[in-house]
């Protein structure tokens, strides 16, 4: 029996295929130094490749071809890059994929504009690919449109909570926010759109949504934890979530568990973040078991993801693609980057 390729190498292969297929949509134009060079920047920086891999593997697992899935993967990846550009500005992030963020390199105004262009470019592969057919193209455009809606709703929740230093949240609030902000465009949409491109039908969409929500939630909790991990955050801005007062699962747990005095200082930190408070917040999280709480949360959700997986892909023949999708579940909670 052949040993399956490690999840990371499959992710890298799909990411490379998608980057290659993306090239024609990122063709040079003018003004290059103010727009098209910026538009090409983030897509050229290798990311984890989770979105294209989920999409292309699902497309093939339901009987479609790589060729059918690639333009759809390009659309999702372009939209992801558009979100990243604007996200980095909203969060004041300084690094992205091992290099300075786009707005640090070129200024906020040009970066916002480049993000807008990337979002518009994301529509092109779905409109221009004749192999998809009109009906499927329109269904995919609806999916992309709904993804923008969910993601912006989730981002609005997170930004609003930060703006008003909202406390008194619980794990269910966090799940609701992450489902919208992260899950939809990271896991749910790639799974649904991959199945749509591969089978030309939305028959599995509800079950795929449920699987994607579990998978995306496990991914986000792990992402929150990795922000606090020195090695893993090497290509990111370590402790950025603490500095920005992001409502991670650990912070929500800490706010609920900490003593009134610490809680008051935390609220102060959320209202007017002070540099240098990260070590204190991290120490407090350790003392209150907030990191262990988050790890347990991810473990519980990923265990439930197996049931959702079985439901989503019921009746399909075993294949390397299905096997890969199953192996993505533990990867989401064990990954180091």
């Amino acid at each position: 029996m052949t040993t399956p390729a490690p999840v990371q190498s499959v992710l890298a292969r799909y990411a490379e295929l998608t980057r290659d297929a993306m090239a024609p949509y990122l063709a040079a134009g003018e003004p290059a130094c103010y727009l098209y060079d910026l538009v090409r920047d983030y897509p050229a920086r290798p990311g984890k490749g989770i979105r294209p891999a989920l999409l292309l593997a699902t497309c093939q697992a339901v009987g479609g071809t790589l060729r059918a899935g690639l333009p759809v993967a390009v659309a999702v990846e372009l939209l992801h890059n558009a979100f990243l550009v604007h996200d980095d500005i909203e969060d004041g992030s300084v690094r992205r994929r091992g290099a300075p963020t786009l707005h640090r390199l070129h200024g906020v105004e040009l970066a916002i504009n480049a993000g807008d262009a990337l979002a518009a470019l994301a529509l092109q592969p779905l409109r221009a690919e004749p192999g998809l057919g009109n009906r499927v193209s329109r269904m995919l455009l609806d999916e992309l449109s709904a993804t923008v809606r969910h993601t912006t709703e989730g981002q609005a929740l997170e930004l609003g909570w930060r703006r008003h230093a909202v406390i008194g949240l619980d794990a269910a609030d966090y799940v609701r926010m992450v489902a919208k902000k992260t899950c939809w465009y990271t896991t749910v949409a790639p799974l649904r759109m991959g199945a749509l491109a591969g089978s030309r039908s939305g028959g599995r969409s509800a079950a795929l949504t449920r699987f994607g929500l579990h998978l995306g939630l496990a991914f986000q909790v792990r992402d929150d934890l990795l922000d606090l991990d020195g090695d893993a955050a090497a290509d990111k801005d370590r402790y950025a979530d603490l500095r920005e007062g992001k409502h991670t699962l650990m912070l929500i747990h800490l706010l609920a568990e900490s003593a009134p005095k610490d809680r008051a200082r935390l609220v102060e930190q959320l209202t007017a973040p002070r540099p240098g408070s990260e070590a204190w917040m991290l120490d407090l999280m350790h003392r209150h078991g907030s990191l262990d709480f988050a790890r347990d949360f991810a473990a519980g959700v990923s265990a439930a993801a197996y049931d959702a997986f079985d439901e989503a892909f019921r009746g399909l023949p075993e294949s390397e693609h299905l096997d890969f999708l199953r192996r993505v579940i533990p990867y989401m909670v064990d990954r180091r980057h």
């Binding site: 009109n134 009906r135 449109s145 809606r149 609701r176 929500l213 347990d296 473990a299």
Partner: protein
Amino acid sequence: MTERPGLTDRQRAAARTAAEVFDSLAEPPAAPFPRDGDDGPRAGVAAAVGLFSDVVQRIVDGYAELAERAGTVASNGSSGAAGEPITLYGRPGETAAVDVWIHNMGSLPISAMRLHLSALTAADGTEPAAGPASFEPPEPSVGAASSTRAVLALLIADDCAPGIYHGYVLGSGEIEAALPLHLVVEP
């Protein structure tokens, strides 16, 4: 939800919390953004017209999809089912040839379909010393509910390594099709 063994109480509680929230998130509407419901009679008429045009569009698309699926490229003697590979046999120095059938089961004629042979590779990534490929006729047309064929010819060079090479016959024009092809170079 199945209660998985081996989980701690806290892990089980996490799974339950997630499941409850996910249950509350009903299947989203396909419509992009919510709209104010008080749009007046003009909007109602526009919505009705839009719905009607969508129904018409879907009917047209349905026929187009059928035509897309009906127009398939197939090798000689095959049933025409998508995915069945064309097999091309030959020895180094020979010109291998095979019939490629185009079955149009749709109700519209297909004119001037352009046929191409994709790049070929063996399982280990090597490419055969072969080519160029030609199709005769180069741009076949096929009437509604009928079939036609084109002959694919490929020159295998003297120094081509024996083995099986994989690629596709691609058809483009009013319909698009891709059929797997095996080139078997015999020693």
